[in-house]
Amino acid sequence: MGSEWNVLIVAFGYLGLLFIIAAWADKRAAQRRSVISSPTVHALSIAVYCTAWTFYGSVGRAAEAGPGFLLIYLGPTLAMLLSPIIVRKMVRIAQAQRITSIADFISARYGKSSSLGALVAIIALIGITPYIALQLRAITESHAILTGRSDYPILMEAGRFWSDQSFWVALVLAVFIILFGARHLDASQRHEGMVAAVAFESLIKLAAFLAVGLFTLFVLFDGPNDLFSQVAATPSLAERLGLDAVPGGASGWIGMLVLAFLAFLTLPRQFQVLVVENVDERHINRAAWMFPLYLLAINIMVVPIAMAGLLLNSGSNPDSFVLTLPLGAGAQALSVFVFIGGLSAATGMMIVETIALSTMVSNQLAMPILLRSRWLRDAGSGVLARWLLAIRRLSIIGILMLGYAYHALIGNAYSLVTIGLVSFAAVAQFAPALLIGLYWPGANRWGVGCGMLAGILVWAWTLLIPGFARSGWLDDSFVEFGPYAIEWLRPQALFWLEGMDIYSHSLLWSLGSNLALLFGISMFTQASPLERTQAALFTGAMAPQLGPNLLPRGKTPTGALRTLLERYLGGEAARRVFTDHTVHNDSDTAAPELIERTEQALAGALGNASARVLVDSVVHGEAPDLDTLLGMLDSTQRILAMNRRLEQKSHELEEISAELRSANERLLELDRLKDEFVAMVSHELRTPLTSIRAFAEILRDSPNLPDEKRSHFLDVTVRESERLSRLIEEVLDLARLESGRLTLNPQHVDLVGLVHHSVDALSALHKTPNLQLDVDIHLPNAAVIGDPDRLEQVIINLLGNAVKFSNDAQPHIRLFLEQDQRGYRLGVEDNGVGISEDERERVFEKFHQIQYQEDGTVRPRPRGSGLGLPISRGIVAQLGGRLKVEDAPTLPGACLVMELPAAPSESTALKPTL
């Protein structure tokens, strides 16, 4: 076996190489020639996910629990597939808000709450310390195996920790992390050296693992076929690769997949490399498939190594097959390479995790306490900056020592995988706060805080405390029977839920209570205005129009901001913030942008919650607080709404007044028509009256008038009187029609008989000498419903009109009656001049012929009132028919057509009388 010293030299030499790489990358970054601004380096740095747990533990788990080990990598594969959506959003938020860690992220999302940040930091510290211990233990174990000491010392027992190399590894790492991870105060700045070193380590561990795999397949066996045929020949081995070997079966399978998915996004170190260290959003797209490919590559050899280990040296611990296989075959150089690979995996994780945790401890735990101290507040410029860096460095040492102590005290009680999964379940409690807060603006700090607290308590009861009990620290009878023999409180069968594996069981209850409280409490409590603003900024981060939150924050002199920056961050940082702002006088009021920049600069170093407290301490006076502002906003919105309503009302008023105007115009028009009507009626009445009076006066004044003259004058008087009374009758008819008081006596009428009767009556009335009247009726009868007297009036009126308007020299009229689908059409045509297209409706207006005459037509004035057609049309309309002017079918003049519906058959006609 290799000498212990040689191995130590190689190990510390490797750590020295990391120093060189990190220093080189930092130097390049200072020259602005970054080595980490490549998507491939980004993907490799994410591979910090693969720790010593992957390197040694995967094989162990595959040997014991079959393909279930893959779930730890399939979960992150699913998460990475979604990373162009989820992680991209987180990166954008982190850049806008200068986020330094997952605790800072959650605190910022829920109104920059210090207590929530502290809670996340404490949970992370409790959950991750065992995980760091696990890495130290892997280093110690692998070193012991490599140097042939199967009984590696239990360290703390004789106070001989200085002889334990894992202690020294922790210390060297602490120095490394302080140099490359806590150089700047601004924790939101990228740690280029660290990222470069971690990416390099990812390559080393992958190469080492693949080397063991190839060695196993092609040196220990004759290729994959040889190995797998041997496995197939051993049924006990083949069975281990089925689903039955997975603890908890199908439910355990899904539980583990969910656990790995959530933990991948919420582990502090993953948040660090995925979000805080992200240089360029576009790198996410490459990493989304390249990192899963890395996972596939590092896992592809797990099954062969596990099977080979079980076949060849089934006696040793499966967790160390990776090392014992080459060692057993005497491959010294390969064994050392594998040890270095494991060291890479362990140190990579410890470096990033410790940086992430120390940022949380200093910003979320130490700072809020320090800010309460009056002495520190009054300290001079730069003192606080030095203090902060000191706190961060001390916490780095503290965290690593805590991990070491955990490892030294109980590290051996568990297999690697078990410790890792306990940590996973702890950080998975951040997932609801993180992921739901990213998409649901309604989640608030009360819900999230209570949810996380409940989740972590359930986690402690179902996973952590039983773990302590199993390692012999506590009496483990309560695990078996429940505390005080209360059966339903048994940690691993809560509420009698048995038959699941312990991780799925714990995840179900802890995440269940976490989610239930998050939703339940958020829905029934009110978020503060700042929290609502932050929620909107986080959930709407991908919407480009959402700028930074530039609400007026009150007044402060720029000098106060400058002093704040100098005191906490040093003069250099203060100058950087003020570069874009020309400030003439320190007593000037600071612009809101400057206040925002100051708060962001402070947030990058101290975390969002502390930065908020500090800026609020100098921004004061008549500052309108957010409540007032939101109140103003509310009232403005109310006024706007009222304005909108007023606008609507005035619009309605405008419409109504337009309607009124048109109604008024119509009324005026009707009034004018009425005046015209009265004037026309008077005119029409005056003409016969004048002649009657004139003849009557002649008769009175000339008693000696010859008899024949006297009788002629009397004739004229009688005729004019008849005309007068006819006219009055017509005016009355018209008035009745228009007011709807014209009463008709509807009955079955035979239109044919009626027409003949009318023609006879007409012939008696009009003694026109050479009138040619054709009556074209080929129907035996035409039954309609109508008032016979009124219908006769209409027909006579139509005939009379035709006579009046026909050619004076050779008057010719034709009357026809025909049947169509709807009823009967009675038409009267003449050989007059006809009626032009645009006159056809106007002939139905009252006294239309008077205007006709005024138009200057040479036509002698026909006798008649000009009321006949309007009355006829009114009567026909009341009988359900139509009266209209059409082109004359056979004669050159006009044709008036009356359409009447046919009467229903006798049986139905009787019905109305019943």
Binding site: L81, L237, N285, R286, P292
Partner: protein, 63 residues
């Protein structure tokens, strides 16, 4: 902002991968006699999903 079509496809691919990685479909591979088939199935599906993701994210020009 991500192209909505690509976003849909990515969500679809994730849903498909989840289906293929979880029991109802997984049981098919597990039921085949011989034991070794479940890991083989997982690795093949895994590789296909990664290939599809790479094609989806690299194959189109950035919107």
């Amino acid at each position: 902002m991500m192209n909505p079509r690509r976003r849909e496809r990515l969500l679809g691919l994730t849903a498909l991968a989840t289906l293929l990685f979880t029991p109802p479909l997984l049981l098919m591979a597990d039921r085949i006699h011989g034991g070794l088939w479940l890991p083989v199935y997982l690795f093949v599906v895994w590789g296909l999903v990664i290939g599809l993701a790479a094609w989806l994210l690299e194959g189109h020009a950035e919107d």
